[in-house]
Amino acid sequence: MALVLNEEQRLLQDTARDFLAKHAPVAALRQLRDAHDTVGYDPQLWQQMAEMGWASIILPEAYGGLEFGFLGLGVVLEESGRTLTASPLFASAVVGASAVLLGGSEAQKQALLPAIAGGTLTLSLALEETQHHNPTYISTTAKIQGENFILSGSKFFVLDGHSADSLVVVARTGGTERSSAGLTLLLVDRNSEGLNCQRTVMADSRNAANIKFHNVVVPAENVLGAVNQGWAILEPVLDRGRVAIAAEMMGCALEAFDRTVAYLKTREQFGVRIGTFQALQHRAAHIQAEIELCRSVVLQALSTVDDAPHQLPPLASLAKARLNELVKLVTNEAVQMHGGIGVTDELEIGFFLKRARVAMQIFGDTGFHKDRYATLCGY
């Protein structure tokens, strides 16, 4: 387990920071928002990111990947969290790629992974059916009919759902309601007949959709993994996603905090810089302490994916729960310490506040992960 970045990872971090600051700063997200951009991210930027290998960091070399591991991925995600960069990095290159990597047949991997690695194919996971993350609460059905499955149901909060080329749909093919048994993962072309996609506009100006499936015909060969055994793939995919989004949230928290500390050093009131006030110093110092804890947790979770994936579940929940709490604390304090300007749209701090709230809902809120961690601990 490595809790310190190596030379290569630090280099990647520097590259990512420079690139994103130049090509995808927060101002770029504001522009996409104000232009009501239909895709919601800049495809050219995504191509550039893919050319630098970012869409293939976690993939094996055999499929055109960099094979740089989650610790490597983590530094890029953290940097993209600092700039709030909108891209398919999380939904496709982490979650979609992991689903194919962990669940796909050799033929599926050959067909899909190089395209994901090249940024030319984007995937999206269609999972949620309620307003709270609940990965076994699946009512969407896939019924076998000859050589096909007939898919019906509704999915919410499908990240990049409106722009992805293909969806990985979690459907029920058996088992009782809310059980992890009887789930099946299906690859569904977004242009399928009977698929209705409604893009949702969310607080963070990033991209998601609500998707309805009405008797969508899916060829049986599009099953990822085995029928009824989807949970064995879905759970580790979700854990990888949780760790990855935690790394992005780390960047979001760090940037919001850096900007706030910089403001405390320059803003003057009562004839002095407000950073001299102990009331603010102690709150800022407390955040620093929380950041140190979270950094260790995220690094450990990332390297656990690489080195000991069987130990991942508690660490993934630890990372997501603690990062949920961190971004909430930091973004709230960031707005408060900026004072009046903190609640203006002109200042970018508000973008961090809003991204934090959406990210907190992705793959489990704090309550979900505390409950899971307690259950894993046996109480």
Partner: protein, 397 residues
Amino acid sequence: MEDLDQFRLQVRAWLAANCPASQRQPMKTDDQYWGGRRGTFPSADAQLWFERMRDKGWTAPEWPTQYGGGGLSPQQARVLKEEMKSLHARTPLYGIGLWMLGPAVLEYGNEAQKQQHIRAIVNGESRWCQGYSEPGAGSDLASLQCKAEDMGDHFLVNGSKIWTTAADKCDWIFCLVRTDPHVKKQEGISFLLIDMDDPGVTTTPIALISGESEFCQTFFDNVKVPKENLVGELNKGWSVAKALLVHERKLMAEIGSESPRQVMQPNMAAREYLEFENGKIADATLRNALVEYDMLMQAVGLTHFRAFEEKAHGVRSAASMVMKYIGTEAEKTKSELLLAIMGSRGVGWEGEGKGFTSQEIDTLRLWAMSKALTIAGGSSEIQLNLIAQKVLELPQP
């Protein structure tokens, strides 16, 4: 790395062969051996175990062999610690000399001081206490008044120190004393070693809310201290003190994971005292408090490890700066959680076996003692000041 694995196997074999079975049992407070002229061994096995460890230099694994230490690298010392932990081997010798004074003397002391004091600490021959705080100098440590006047061939010390741990059982005290009252307060302080048997040194125990009296007030009335007992330069004691405080804070930060006492763990207490329904703690509030604590402690453990790794790799980070604050606050949280889990069985004060078990009473006493953790060694508020100043570099008033 292979060498380290090799070392681990050797350590494991040696510990298995040399640690008496009785010294692998959970220990109570009075099972600890603190050394010193007045020190007594709690048992013959404790003595045997101590002597074997001492002969290896492993009472102070990282100190140089020339002064009796183990000469291990930080990585090797960590291996030793891990192997002792997995065998449940007791710590053979406790002491403020080992944890705080020794590292300071090794860094700032002269050769004669190292020869005199380091080996005596390793061998458990001298027990030390700390003379920093004064009745009028708590968080504002640098305003201390206890003075040492230069009398030519010796210093004459007058004043008092408070929160001197077990001063009535110690052989030596290391003190911060004022040697120049006319300069900025941090610049007129020196670091002095004083023999507790010297004429004019007296101690009075202080009764605490825990019912214990582990701390004393120590008085100095015209105590003559030889000039060679000055550590570092005259009036430069503040630097020595700060370096030593770093050791103290590191120690206090790790108190949760390294506690010398046999303490109940909250998740074990939950099984004993709480109702379960379908495999879950029925009380949702307590279940939430417990999981928050367990998550916090995993994060704290990982951060200790990260701080260690970063130091080994020469990476600068703020991790070690925040750990005293985090670690001691967590320890208080744990004590409060234990009380909440134990309910009315958690508030027994005395009378072992009469309504309460000794463990229940111990837990309450530790809860009371835990309140001192965020005060001693630089209070939580002082820690936050330091983080704001040193890490965040916020402007100072």
